[in-house]
């Protein structure tokens, strides 16, 4: 049990009609890793994260999470496993009829034995993390897209999960908020031993947080390796994907060298 991977995805396939969105995804994630998953828009990244929470059923494949086969769990065990996984949805997916505080309180109220006082404290703590203390009593409709996203992140952390799935956490955020979220991902790893899977298009943050990178293309993982390895890849699609970032990085280095 001990030497098993933390999360092991094997041959995961999913079809919508006869279109294969995922066509045999295999990934292994060790504890305290930050795996960045990249890929073209519509490539199936969100679908992959949804499958990890079993929000839909794959056509075939296996998902081992801490030695348990997620896909064969009964509803009750599955729900217990889900409480160990936090998900930051691409569109935040906050409950629109509840205030920010109520949204954050929800998982604790439903799934923990915490008293209202403790829940209140936890809410303040997590809101502080995402820098949104003022938004406590606001409804999701009164928040900006980036603020919603950060509340979604805070909610994902409420149950102190061991694995956090980030679906484009910094899309639509300003550079300062983006950096803050990157720091948060690293902090979760360093201080709380959280393992993360981060789907992102922002190369800057991808390289800032990644301990490993995977590239999803046409339903398959076409690259899986360290950030340094991906820079040296000879795959055309990935090269194109990274080109703007690498060019920018190089000019940045030049500036440093000059000054």
């Amino acid at each position: 049990m001990k030497n098993r991977a933390f999360l092991e995805i094997n041959g995961l396939k999913l079809k919508y009609g006869d279109k294969a969105v995922l066509d045999g995804v295999t990934l292994k994630i060790e504890p305290r890793e930050v795996l960045v998953v990249m890929g073209l828009s519509g490539g199936g990244k969100t679908t992959l994260l949804n499958l990890l929470l079993r929000l839909m059923e794959p056509t075939s494949g296996t998902i081992m999470f801490r030695g348990e086969e997620l896909l064969s769990l009964e509803r009750r065990e599955l729900n217990r496993a889900r409480t160990r996984i936090g998900m930051v949805f691409q569109n935040a997916a906050l409950i629109s009829s509840m205030t920010v505080a109520e949204n954050l309180a929800l998982p604790l109220r439903e799934l923990s034995d915490k008293t209202p006082k403790e829940i209140d404290k936890a809410i303040d703590e997590k809101l502080e993390l995402v820098d949104l203390k003022d938004a406590r009593e606001k409804l999701p409709g009164e928040l900006s897209g980036g603020m919603k996203k950060r509340v979604g992140l805070a909610r994902a952390l409420m149950l102190d999960p061991e694995l956090v799935l980030f679906d484009e956490p910094s899309a639509g955020l300003d550079p300062i908020a983006t950096e803050r979220i990157d720091d948060l991902i690293l902090e979760l790893k360093e201080e709380h031993n959280v393992t993360s899977i981060v789907v992102t298009h922002e190369m800057e943050s991808a390289f800032a947080v990644a301990s490993r990178m995977a590239f999803l293309d046409k339903g398959k993982i076409i690259f899986d390796g360290t950030p340094d390895e991906i820079k040296g890849t000879d795959n055309k699609v990935i090269q194109k994907f990274l080109a703007p970032y690498l060019a920018h990085e190089r000019t940045g280095e030049l500036h440093h060298a000059n000054s």
Binding site: L53, N79, I95
Partner: protein, 270 residues
């Protein structure tokens, strides 16, 4: 499909299959909600929040009260008036109180309440659950390990199940009052005579029949509206389609079940 008879059979068959499929999904929803409730109970946690339940009962019950009463008073009034004018020809306007009383207790009260709730509350349930599906909120609940079925469906379903009989009783009373009012005004039947006659002719089985039917209507509307809402596909348009379908299905089911229950009750307890 070359010949029309064959095409007709195929169409009917298709409809029947679709109907059975819906029935299957409805059963699935009821079963899975019950299973999620079972999980919660096994974990010694409440399956739903009492506050949510009371919020929904206030909405279903108190919120629908004005409309139910208004509608019932007018229907009672009209019914007494029209039957009264017919019965006047035979000099038996004294039959108006029992007619109105029994009709409302057994039939009109539950039926009108059912129709009002199906359109007023059923539509709201479907639309809000549908919007939650479209916004990914239900997925989020599921992802957190909070069973969305028991969390969302239970308080709503229970609220409408408990409130329909209450509203039906009030609807019955309002209908009878409406009838009494017009009888006093136009048929020369005094209030006390009217109410005495109603009391004298009403039987316990009439009252039970009415209450039983309202429970069934409540259960049906709750289940159908939640099912239609959770089955929404395709964003805002999907919510609209589902809401229309929810109201149509709930109203037709209420009327259909009403007839079936009436036939059985008349046969079993003549």
């Amino acid at each position: 499909m070359n010949n029309p008879a064959e095409a007709f059979v195929a169409r009917v068959g298709g409809k029947a299959l679709a109907f059975l499929e819906e029935l299957g999904s409805l059963t699935w929803l009821a079963g899975n909600t019950a299973a999620e409730i079972g999980d919660r109970v096994a974990e010694r946690r409440p399956p739903f929040r009492l506050a949510d339940f009371f919020f929904q009962t206030a909405r279903v019950g108190v919120g629908s009260l004005p409309m139910v009463i208004l509608l019932s008073v007018f229907v009672g009034l009209t019914m007494a008036l029209l039957t009264g004018y017919q019965l006047q020809k035979f000099g038996v306007t004294t039959l108006v109180p029992p007619v109105v009383g029994i009709a409302f207790t057994r039939e009109m009260g539950p039926l009108f309440t059912g129709i009002v709730l199906a359109s007023r509350i059923g539509a709201a349930f479907t639309a809000e659950l549908g919007a939650m599906i479209a916004g990914g909120e239900v997925d989020a609940l599921e992802a957190m390990g909070i069973g969305p079925l028991r969390y969302l469906v239970t308080p709503r379903w229970l609220a409408i199940f408990c409130m329909t009989p209450c509203l039906a009783v009030l609807s019955t009373l309002s209908g009878i009052c409406g009838g009494a009012f017009i009888s006093d005004l136009m048929l020369q039947l005094g209030y006390s005579f009217f109410f005495d006659q109603v009391m004298l002719n009403l039987m316990v089985k009439d009252i039970l029949a009415g209450v039983f039917k309202s429970f069934v209507f409540g259960a049906l509307i709750g289940l159908i509206s939640c099912y239609k809402g959770l089955g929404v596909k395709g964003g805002a348009v999907g919510v609209g389609v589902a809401t229309t379908s929810s109201v149509v299905t709930a109203v037709s089911s209420v009327i259909a079940f009403d007839s079936v229950i009436n036939i059985f009750l008349v046969l079993l307890f003549p």
